[in-house]
C-alpha cells in the first residue's frame, strides 16, 4: 500500500514537472528559436540587411530612437490622430445610434444612410478625401473618424432595440417617466453591446491609421516608415511595426479595463 502510494506520488511529481515545462518553456520556445535563426541568418549574411535587419540591430535602433526622442515625438503625432479621429467617429456613432435606436422617425432617417455607408470600403475613399481635404492632417483624421462611426452606431442601435421588454414593463409599472426608463433601463442594457462596438472601432481606427499615414506625412509613425523605406532602413520599419502592434494591444487593454468596470454586475466578471 505504502509502496503503491509512493510510486504514485513519484509518478505524479514527474508528470507535473514535464507538464509545466511544456507549458511555460514550450510557449516561448518557438518564437525564441525563430529569433535566434533570424539573428544567425543575418550574421552569416544569409539574410541581407536591406531585406531584413537583424533582431539585435532592431533593438539597437529602438533604443537609439527612444533616446533621441525621434520615436516618442512621432508616436505622439500618430496617437493624436487616432485619438481625435476616434473622438469624432465614436461621438457621431453614439449620436446616430441614439437617434435611430430611440425613435422610429430617427430610424427611418438614419438607418438607410448608415447601411449605404457600410457598403463603401473606407479606404476606397482615400483619393476622394485627398481631393476634398488636401494632404494635411484633415484627411487622415477624417478617414479614421469615418471608419469608427459604423461599429459604434450599429452596436448601440441593436443594443437599444434588444432591451428586455419585461424590464421596461416593470419600470413602467413603477411610474418611471419615458426619460427615466431610457436612463435606468434602456441605456444600461445597451452598454455591453456598445462596448463591443467600441472595441471594433478602436481596432479599425488603428488599421486605417496605418494606411492614412502613408499620405504624404511629415510626422508620425507612417512618416518614419516612408522615410525608412526610401533609405532602405529595414531596422526602423521593424521598430515601427512593433509600435503599431503595441498600439493595438494597448487599445484592447483599454476597452477590457472599461468593460471590467462598467459591467461589474455580470456574474462572469463578479466571479473573477
Amino acid at each position: 500500500m505504502t509502496v503503491l502510494t509512493a510510486d504514485r506520488r513519484g509518478h505524479a511529481h514527474g508528470g507535473v514537472q514535464k507538464f509545466s515545462l511544456a507549458r511555460f518553456g514550450g510557449r516561448w520556445l518557438s518564437p525564441v528559436l525563430l529569433l535566434l535563426l533570424w539573428e544567425l541568418g543575418s550574421r552569416s549574411g544569409l539574410i541581407p540587411e536591406r531585406t531584413l535587419a537583424a533582431p539585435s540591430a532592431v533593438i539597437g535602433t529602438l533604443v537609439e530612437m527612444l533616446l533621441s526622442g525621434e520615436l516618442p515625438s512621432n508616436l505622439l503625432v500618430s496617437f493624436a490622430r487616432v485619438a481625435v479621429g476616434l473622438l469624432i467617429g465614436v461621438g457621431l456613432g453614439l449620436a446616430l445610434g441614439l437617434v435611430a435606436g430611440l425613435s422610429r422617425t430617427g430610424e427611418l432617417a438614419v438607418d438607410p444612410l448608415m447601411q449605404i455607408k457600410r457598403t463603401i470600403p473606407v479606404l476606397a475613399l482615400t483619393p476622394l478625401f485627398i481631393v476634398w481635404f488636401g494632404i494635411g492632417e484633415t484627411p487622415k483624421i477624417a478617414l479614421i473618424a469615418f471608419a469608427a462611426v459604423f461599429p459604434v452606431y450599429l452596436n448601440l442601435y441593436s443594443g437599444i432595440r434588444g432591451v428586455d421588454l419585461r424590464l421596461l414593463d416593470a419600470a413602467k409599472s413603477f411610474g418611471l417617466s419615458r426619460w427615466e426608463q431610457i436612463w435606468h433601463v434602456v441605456l444600461p442594457s445597451a452598454l455591453p453591446s456598445l462596448l463591443v462596438g467600441l472595441r471594433y472601432a478602436l481596432s479599425v481606427a488603428i488599421l486605417v491609421l496605418v494606411v492614412a499615414e502613408q499620405i504624404n506625412a511629415s510626422a508620425g509613425l507612417g512618416y518614419l516608415i516612408n522615410n525608412a523605406r526610401d533609405f532602405m532602413r529595414t531596422d526602423i520599419i521593424v521598430v515601427c511595426l512593433m509600435v503599431y502592434a503595441i498600439l493595438g494591444l494597448g487599445a484592447d487593454w483599454l476597452v477590457r479595463t472599461v468593460e471590467a468596470r462598467a459591467l461589474i454586475w455580470r456574474p462572469s466578471i463578479v466571479e473573477q
Binding site: 419585461r166 424590464l167 414593463d169 416593470a170 419600470a171 413602467k172 409599472s173 413603477f174 411610474g175 418611471l176 427615466e180 435606468h184 433601463v185 444600461p188 442594457s189 452598454l191 461589474i264 454586475w265 455580470r266 456574474p267 463578479v270
Partner: protein, 266 residues
Amino acid sequence: MDARLGFTALQSAAGHSDIPHPEPVVRLRDFTRRFGPNTIIDGLDLDIAPGEFIALLGRSGSGKTTLLRTLAGLDEVRGQDVEVPDSRAVVFQDARLLPWKPVWKNVALGLKGDRVRDRSEAALKEVGLGHRLDAWPLTLSGGEAQRVALARALVREPKLLLLDEPFAALDALTRYRMHDLVLSLWRAHRPAVLIVTHDVEEAIALADRVLVLDKGRIVAQERITVPRGERSAISGRLREKLLSYLGGEDHGEGVVPFAPIAEAAE
C-alpha cells in the same frame, strides 16, 4: 361548514350581487378588452375594498394577465369605466430586477424625495435582506430576488399590491416561507392585494376572497371567513369546488378535461 365559508357563487358577471364595499380602491364596470377578433376580457365587474386580499384563479388564456396589466396601468384603457389607485405596485413572476443596479438601488428605483437609501434599506430589512443591500441581483437566489421585488413594491406604500404568480418559480419550502412573509407584510401595511395564481392551495391559504376567471368572465367567487392558519379543515372541500369551476366547463374543446371522465365513472 358551508355557512362558515360565506359562499357566493356567480354564474356570470351580470349576476353580480356582492355587497358593495365602501369606496373600493379598484372599481371596474363592464370592462371589456379585445385583441383583434379575440375577446380577452368580457364585460367584467370588479370591486376591491381597501385592505382586501383577493386571489384570482384561472387557467392559461383565461385573461388573468390581461386583467392584471390593466390594473397595473400597463395597458391603456380608453373610454372604459376603470378606477385604480395611483399608488400601486406589481411583483412579477420573474423578479425583473435591473441587473446593473445593486439591490438597494433596484428597490429605490423611481423613488422621489430624500432619504431614498434609508427607505430602501428599511424595506429590505423588512423582507429579511438587510445584509444584501449592495449585492448584484444576478448573485441572488430565486427566493431572495422575489423578496427584493416585494421590498421594491412595498417601499412605495401602495394602496394596491398586484402579485402576478409571484411564487410559481420557487421550490415548495421557499414558497411557504414567502406566503408567511406576504401575509405579515400585508398585516403591517394593509394594502389591497390581488394575487394572480393557478395554485388553488395558494389561493385558499392567502385570500379573503377567491375569484375564478374563465374566458374573460368571473365565473365564481368564494369568500373565506375562516382565519388563516385554521383553514386546513375547509381546504379539501373548497379546493374541490374551485377545481370544478376551473376545469368543469370545458366540454367540447380539444383537450378532454378530468371532470367528464369522473362523471362517466359515476
